[in-house]
Symmetry: C2
Subunit: 316 residues, 2 copies
Amino acid sequence: VGAGLIGGSVLRAAAAAGWTGWAVTADLAEGEAARADGHDVTVDLPDALDRAARQDALVVLATPLPAVPEVLREVARTAPDCRLTDVVSVKGPVAEAVRRHSPQVRYVGGHPMAGTAASGWSAGSAELFRDAAWVVAAEDDADLAVLRDVVRLALDCGAHVVPATAAEHDDAVARISHLPHLLAAVLAAVGADGGPLALALAAGSFGDGTRVAGSRPELVRAMCEGNRDALLDAVDDALGRLGAARGSLASTGSLGKTIEAGHQGRGELDRQRARAGTSVRVDLAAPGALAALRAIGSRGGRITALDGDQAVAETF
Amino acid sequence: VGAGLIGGSVLRAAAAAGWTGWAVTADLAEGEAARADGHDVTVDLPDALDRAARQDALVVLATPLPAVPEVLREVARTAPDCRLTDVVSVKGPVAEAVRRHSPQVRYVGGHPMAGTAASGWSAGSAELFRDAAWVVAAEDDADLAVLRDVVRLALDCGAHVVPATAAEHDDAVARISHLPHLLAAVLAAVGADGGPLALALAAGSFGDGTRVAGSRPELVRAMCEGNRDALLDAVDDALGRLGAARGSLASTGSLGKTIEAGHQGRGELDRQRARAGTSVRVDLAAPGALAALRAIGSRGGRITALDGDQAVAETF
């Protein structure tokens, strides 16, 4: 449901991996373009969902967050107990909308961590998810059969799967995606306030630190505002640290604690990326499978393959 | 005076351009390495300054900021009215130290905006300043003959010259260099607080936004702490903007003003880099030359050549 950058890329990547899929979009031009590329695309949401119900298809919700409730109400009418996942960039609010508007569906949330610089069907690609992380929500009440289907879809799209709860996901992306966008916006504005002289002296640190401030504002807003609660926590953490740095600089002249903590944090990223993992298997049919998956995700691990009921994972 | 990354590179670049130069360093190993590379390097500061006084050489102060007062006291003893510039990353505090410790020198400050990731003689290069901005302090009381010498040195080292007052320089670099380092440190710490799951999901925005947090903490501290007053203003600007974003997100759910201002600011950087300038000449012997130079710098312009007493500049 949705044939934009992400939904359109899922349709193409799944088709390339041998899945039979169809899409529905409210955007007539987008639907036309997708059909011209040889895909089965309709503008009739009830019809698309009715086909899904009759074939017990996995429904992939790929609309912007504000459109989710309306789609879910149609799901409740037409395909009330379907298998459902989503690719929206925030997980708690989608899970809450599912509970409210379509409580009978077998829902397991997902989020492929792929680019947002462009948008629309034409910006998509079957390769968009290659080597990307695709978070799959491993809540305690998750239906393991549906979870396995979602993992299969993500792996077939070329991604690796990071299992996490919705809350863990939202907290993590607030820190490593939404706060970076917000700080880039703040930095760009403070720099531009310095006028042409300041911008003429700008080099690597300012260029890097403001790069994502060039992204389309409406996309950045939708992403950040949709994760309000978790982002507020991350902003408070940043405000606290920046305020402490300010106080220390003003009173003692030292930025030691701030700079050292930042160096340590960046070092953790580099060390985590360089470390070697070990391979484990999780039997998705066994008790405790969800907790085992979450433990892998929380240590920075990932599912890299499915072997029948076994998830093959790299863990640390 | 100093044969580290910057001082050692000035010595090499100036020698390559045909200048006769010698260096003094308190670091015996550094001096040994520079001599092995064929340069005239001593560890005797009074002797080096005495030679400078006798030959009316342009003295280039290239020590860390904390060592500046001690060197200036020796300058006042041995070469009290020499021509003096510096390559320290902050200009107001150096100018203040000159007024206090060596008030008779003919001083015009400078700051080549070149890399700080590595340090020491061995990290230097005659090409370090190629196409870099080299700020030259065009204060109202500047000696124009010395200013022309400093401009000549910068141009011969491969840089272009940005004229600005010490205060303008310090405000600008606080915004486009020191604040980016501080925000990168804050972001890296907040991200690492999210643990291995958050770091496993980190992609472009976090990687870019934290890159300079990997720089050597002692160098980042020296740079930022040395520009305390201007950096406090920039930090207050950032705290105000981030606090306003927090308030708006919490109360109305909107980040519109913050994200739009950031997008606008980044756009100004991109547009400034793309615009075409016009060529002008400033007669350094004419009245109002310093004001004319500062006006060029404040519009993002630069001196690209010297033609006798004429500075050839690109302005906007």
